[in-house]
């Protein structure tokens, strides 16, 4: 399904997913018994993985025969998805929420100053390796610490989206939330009780540290609520799911723009799969201009980390899902409005899933922000 989601009239629900065991989210590298023995993994799942886990959990409460034939309004049938949409996916710990850190944001080397990339205008571009050509580049004035933070608190993200530099206490690394827990597995011959040859494997599971959970925003499900234990990711690892009463996204309204402002930041809170790699399908490759829902825009600049390879496992087909290169979460674009207002922009983009592919699975959850002017505090 290509398009943007988020304006549906279905009620939004917030669920907390608390792992009971270390979780295993495999990366797309081949891992076949007897051929490879290391299974790569990530600590944080793709939105599609969580979407599939919730869809399967709902299906387990329904009649499978009906799912195969008529289908259900919310979870659809094997060939077509229904109204169930996953909107956003992020971390929570002790009542605080964390999102992927904006690309390029980091701590200054030797100091506790946070640096954010700011636009640097080049009047004449001699050579640009990408199209469309951009005349403004994002760069950071100071030397950054080698390891960039991977997570930013909701408060820090709010500051960033309001054009301010977040405080360093708002930035966290993976090590603050997850810890790798490698495991070794074998296969025993049931007759000889000896280990079978070439069946040794090693995988890294990730344990979520104290009170670290996944928070998921969904809409369009018929269940009154989802509560209990379900399996998520590989090796049927278990987690508890429970509905939350408050929606943390209500703390991220679109920023207030001055009438003189023409530019805005479009930040991705979940990975996005665009038809043209890093460019959404509605942006012209040559000119960088685009139009969406009567708002005409021009791409000014972008901060995008290396692409992610996204796949997954199709439980129905019992095979891998299609492989895509995705723009990683935390990437952001700077657009200039050519026709329309920034108020229209917020209406069209804020809290919408803008991925060209599988937006209903939670890809491309976007937030609108102001373009920052400050370099660092």
């Amino acid at each position: 399904m290509i398009g943007m989601l988020g304006m549906g009239g279905n009620e939004m629900k917030v669920f907390k997913i608390a792992p009971l065991d270390p979780l295993f989210f495999r990366d797309p590298r081949p891992f076949t018994a007897g051929e490879q023995d290391w299974a790569g993994s990530f600590p944080f799942p793709w939105p599609g993985t969580v979407y599939g886990a919730i869809r399967s959990a709902i299906l387990s409460r329904r009649e499978y025969k009906k799912f195969l034939t008529k289908g259900y309004t919310d979870i659809g049938n094997p060939k077509q998805k229904g109204t169930f949409h996953l909107r956003a996916l992020f971390l929570s710990q002790n009542g605080l929420y964390y999102f992927p850190s904006p690309a390029g944001v980091g701590l200054e080397k030797g100091a506790k100053n946070v640096c954010v990339p700011t636009p640097f205008y080049l009047p004449e571009v001699i050579f640009s390796p990408v199209t469309p050509e951009v005349t403004e580049f994002l760069y950071v004035k100071k030397d950054l610490k080698a390891s960039l933070p991977l997570w930013i608190s909701l408060q820090g993200l709010k500051e960033f989206l309001n054009g301010k530099t977040p405080r360093y206490t708002n930035l966290k690394g993976n090590e603050d939330f997850f810890i790798p827990e490698p495991k070794v597995g074998i296969k025993r011959d049931p007759n000889t009780h000896a280990s079978e040859l070439h069946q040794l494997y090693r995988a890294i599971h990730y344990r979520f540290l104290n009170n670290v959970n996944l928070t998921v925003i969904v809409e369009g499900i018929e269940e009154e609520t989802l509560s209990g234990v379900f399996t998520i990711g590989g090796e049927r690892r278990t987690a508890m799911v429970k509905e939350e009463s408050s929606n943390p996204l209500s703390l991220l309204p679109p920023p207030k723009f001055d009438s003189s402002e023409k530019r805005f930041v479009l930040y991705l809170a979940t990975p996005a799969i665009f038809e043209r790699g890093w460019l959404p399908h509605w942006v012209d490759e040559e000119t960088g201009e685009g139009e969406f829902e009567d708002v005409k825009l021009k791409l000014v600049s972008a901060a995008i980390s290396s692409y992610l390879v996204v796949s997954g496992w199709d439980v129905q087909k019992k095979g891998p899902k299609d492989l895509y290169r995705a723009v990683p979460a935390g990437s952001f674009y700077i657009f200039e409005v050519l026709e329309g207002s920034l108020g229209d922009v917020a209406e069209v983009f804020h809290k919408r899933n803008i991925s060209d592919i599988s937006p209903e699975e939670g890809y491309g959850f976007a937030l609108v922000g102001k373009v920052f002017k400050e370099v660092s505090q």
């Binding site: 009971l20 065991d21 270390p22 959990a57 709902i58 387990s60 409460r61 329904r62 009649e63 499978y64 025969k65 810890i179 790798p180 827990e181 490698p182 495991k183 070794v184 597995g185 025993r188 049931p190 009780h193 344990r207 540290l209 989802l226 509560s227 209990g228 234990v229 379900f230 399996t231 090796e235 049927r236 690892r237 278990t238 508890m240 429970k242 019992k318």
Partner: protein, 313 residues
């Protein structure tokens, strides 16, 4: 969604080695541990494999419950968590040994049971009989205590500390264990109140890290009768009397309707999951071998589960 579940208790009867493979360190072959606590654990995959080998079910039922051995036609209906520690045996100056636990271990046990209760209302009543927490430095009675300067004191390995012999929360927990886990016919039923000791969290962490059994093994050259060169290594074991638990849960069968075994099939997913769980419980052996070195007697464990009537089997 998981529809039904119970707690599987595993008592280590002979030292257990669920290993991580060879490592560089003091111990060549260490046991599996949780990364963030250092507490011993047994991977769910190891437990599942051992259950599959030992459970008394037909091949068809095994395939339906555990999943096919080869290929990926469907996944199994049985879901297990890793085995988690509940009690760790420690040598005691009085009473031979103590079953040691901590407030932190109990808090997780309580949370895990609450997770089960969230899917099964009948389990809720069982969970509500538990105390909400355990206090550190508590025992019941004087099975482990000696009097030192007028204070009831417990001596565990090199540690000695004052305790409260009459803690109501611990009494409630022991009563629960005797009702649901170690019933009257269980040989540990009578010993339980006299041997349980709740220690401080840090002390428990020290015990499980420093007081596992580490044995040294060699390989004798058959020709010379002496140790082969390089054939000396040490292995870590969880000691006998360690008590662990896993959440054992069932989903509806993950296969096409026409392929489902008749005795498990049900149009209602919840009832189907209930049948799956019941079938597993019926086929559970009283003992099985878990982990490595089975042929030298290691890894013999006894199993028990709770059913909704509250009677441990």
């Amino acid at each position: 969604m998981i529809r039904k579940g119970t707690i599987l208790f595993v008592t280590v009867e002979t030292p257990l080695h669920a290993g991580t493979g060879a490592e560089l360190g003091i111990v060549d072959l260490p046991i599996q541990r949780e990364r963030h606590t250092g507490w011993p654990k047994v991977e769910a995959s190891g437990l599942k494999g051992a259950l599959r080998e030992s459970v008394d079910l037909s091949d068809g039922l095994k395939r339906a419950v555990f999943g096919p051995e080869e290929g990926d036609l469907h996944s199994g209906a049985l879901v297990l968590t890793d085995l988690r520690i509940l009690f760790f045996p420690v040598k005691s100056g009085k009473g031979t040994f103590a079953w040691v636990t901590s407030p932190e271990v109990f808090a997780r046990f309580h949370r895990d049971l609450a997770a089960l209760a969230s899917m099964d209302d009948e389990f809720l009543a069982i969970v509500e009989e538990l105390p909400e927490e355990l206090r550190e430095n508590t025992v019941i009675g004087n099975g482990l205590t000696v009097e030192v300067n007028g204070q009831s004191t417990v001596l565990l390995e090199e540690y000695s500390f004052g305790v409260n012999e009459d803690d109501d929360k611990l009494k409630k927990f022991v009563e629960w264990l005797q009702k649901y886990v170690f019933k009257k016919q269980n040989p540990r039923h009578a010993d339980l109140p006299q041997k349980i000791c709740v220690v401080e969290n840090d002390m428990f962490n020290d015990f499980v890290k420093m007081f596992t059994e580490v044995i040294t093994r060699t390989k004798i050259d058959q020709a010379t009768g002496t140790v082969q060169t390089g054939a000396l290594w040490n292995e870590e074991y969880l000691p006998a009397e360690t008590i662990m638990y896993s959440l054992m849960m069932a989903t509806p069968l993950m296969m096409k309707n026409e392929e489902k075994p008749e005795e498990l099939k049900n149009n209602n997913p919840e009832k189907e999951a209930k049948k799956v769980l019941q079938k597993i419980k019926e086929g559970l052996p009283e003992y099985l071998f878990l982990g490595g070195n089975e042929t030298v007697g290691k890894g013999l464990v006894s199993l028990s589960v709770i059913d909704k009537t509250g009677e441990a089997s």
